[in-house]
């Protein structure tokens, strides 16, 4: 009950804020898009694995969204769906290889894949637009042509719905047999195999879900900006997503969005006040979180809202 009140309050905040401060629409949209990518990383953290390359799926989905928008001029809702599917398919293929590895090897192999993608996008400029990236015209949303402001407002609504549905999906997944088996990978993969459960198959399922969520975030990011660049898949972006997961807390889907909002707004305001030093402030915040609140911001209130176990 308390959790529902908390989530409703957060959602109200995300809805009301841009109404009174329209210039905050874009930061809120970016926070929601980031939050979805963080949700993907949280799925992997559930299995005790940290990926330093998950931004590649957001980047892939962003480029897929852009390419489809430029070629077929589809509606934004279809672009989001297709971008997400592209990321999920890529996750399914990369995951076949990736689920064989654990720990630092898993993290670094993801990083390696993301850097390959980053290089390919930068080098094949004729197709990808190189380091300048690709732009696309604002698509219809719900088959309605909207001006920039109306489009952003509608996209914000779509992003909120996506965030709520994805959060519910992930929480449902965590409670499912697959989700519980995924969590068991963290503590005892040997026992899983000796129960007759394929740890690799379970992890692959989690990896594909993670890629799809990052892709959903990437598609929304691309639609918000109307532009994609290889930077979307750069390792720093993957690091940011992991940072946000630690900041918000990886024990619950809500933590992903809390972290994403705090990150986006700290970046926004600190960049304005301490130009060029916002990374320093974020670094100090991360240090504080690791020492004082290792379960993240949501972890601090989790026990009161849910009980001892998520």
């Amino acid at each position: 009950m308390l959790l529902r009140v908390f989530v409703t309050a957060l959602l109200s905040f995300a809805i009301v804020l841009p109404v009174f401060f329209p210039w905050l629409k874009t930061p809120v949209l970016l926070a929601l898009a980031n939050g979805l990518s963080v949700l993907g990383v949280i799925v992997l953290i559930r299995a005790g694995q940290v990926s330093f390359g998950n931004a590649m799926f957001a980047c892939l989905a962003g480029y897929a969204t852009t390419a489809i928008a430029r070629i077929w001029h589809l509606d934004a809702l279809l672009l989001i769906a297709l971008g997400t599917v592209c990321a999920a398919v890529a996750g399914a293929m990369v995951g076949l290889f990736m689920v064989r590895y654990r720990g630092i090897f898993f993290g670094m192999l993801n990083l390696a894949f993301s850097m390959v993608l980053f290089s390919v996008l930068g080098k094949f400029g004729a197709i990808t637009g190189g380091t300048d990236g690709l732009r696309f015209d604002r698509p219809t949303l719900g088959f309605v042509h909207l001006e920039r402001d109306g489009f952003e407002t509608a996209l914000l609504g779509v992003a909120l719905v996506c965030a709520v549905l994805a959060g519910l999906l992930v929480q449902r997944y965590f409670r499912s047999v697959s989700g519980q088996a995924l969590a068991a990978i963290k503590t005892n993969e040997t026992r899983l195999e000796y129960l007759g459960i394929s740890a690799k198959r379970v992890f692959w399922g989690g990896y594909v879900l993670s890629a799809a969520l990052c892709g959903l975030g990437g598609s929304l990011f691309a639609l918000t900006q109307g532009l994609v660049t290889p930077e979307m898949g750069y390792w720093v972006r993957s690091g940011e997503v992991v940072f946000i997961a630690i900041l918000g807390g990886s024990g619950h889907a809500v933590g992903a969005f809390i972290g994403a909002f705090v990150f986006e707004f700290v970046k926004l305001y600190v960049a304005a006040w301490l130009t060029g030093s916002w990374q320093l402030v974020l670094g100090l915040i991360l240090l504080f979180m690791v020492f004082a609140a290792p379960t993240g911001i949501f972890g601090l209130v989790e026990r009161r809202l849910i009980g001892s176990k998520p």
Binding site: R175, S176, Q180, A181, A184, R191, E193, Y194
Partner: protein, 248 residues
């Protein structure tokens, strides 16, 4: 009491110059309760590891219920009906005791879409609760598995294996790490559970009193070979077993 449930033919495995399994021919019948004894390094755990797919033999064959399982994965062998518990209990430390059993029970769940259903709804929760009671873990059902004392972790390890409805359960030192006072009580609980579920069993054991009390058959391992095999009292009277396993 006649059909061979598990058998091996010429089973061998060497680690460099160390022969851990030396051409072992072995047969276990349905309903038997076999104790395995031997000094450290005699090859007991190696034999278990080969039979459960953890190690691949250098040569030889393993058969379960008439089917060859040599070189099969632990998962495949488990699904065929061979359960296993470990010397160091293998449980999901961050899950509760009940959740551990629910996950274990999901493997045999026949509910459609079971793997995506909430854990509680995906399996027959009554059978989980019955197993918890059978192994005297009901009072600890909502405790974290990682926080259990060693004896109860051993029971949980076996309980998880039992949820897979095995025909054969292989237990590696089920009483190791448990105090002498608790050993017999723990074995009584385990054996009652195996009897009730009609599970044939193999257990590696160092405590001869436990062997005498609970085994229907005893095999003594010496240097990678079965040196003596038969009724416990007969094997325990074997001079080689007295000299190499029990001590003078």
């Amino acid at each position: 009491m006649s059909a061979a449930l598990l058998s091996t033919k010429g089973l061998s495995l060497s680690f460099g110059g160390v022969v851990a399994a030396d051409s072992i021919d072995f047969e276990l019948k349905v309903g038997e309760r076999l104790a395995v004894v031997g000094q450290n390094g005699a090859g007991k755990t190696t034999f278990i590891n080969i039979c459960t797919g953890f190690l691949q033999p250098t040569s030889g064959h393993v058969y379960f219920a008439g089917q060859e399982i040599t070189g099969h994965s632990p998962r495949d062998i488990t699904l065929r009906g061979v359960g296993r518990s470990f010397q160091l209990p293998q449980v999901f430390g961050e899950h509760t005791v009940r959740e551990c059993l629910l996950i274990a029970a999901s493997v045999r769940s026949k509910k459609r879409g079971g793997f995506l259903l909430p854990l509680e709804k995906a399996v027959d929760a009554d059978s989980v609760d019955a197993t918890l009671e059978l192994l005297q873990l009901g009072a600890r059902a909502h405790d974290l598995a990682g926080a259990l004392p060693e004896g109860q972790r051993k029971l949980l390890d076996v309980a998880m294996a039992l949820m897979g409805q095995p025909q054969l359960l292989i237990m590696d030192e089920p009483t190791s790490g448990v105090s002498t006072d608790e050993k017999h009580g723990l074995m009584k609980v385990l054996m009652r559970a195996l009897d009730q579920r009609k599970v044939t069993s193999i257990f590696v054991e160092h405590d001869i009193d436990i062997v005498r009390a609970h085994a229907t058959r005893l095999a003594a391992w010496i240097a990678g070979k079965i040196a003596a095999d038969g009724p416990p009292e007969q094997v325990l009277a074997d001079p080689a077993v007295i000299r190499n396993v029990i001590g003078e």
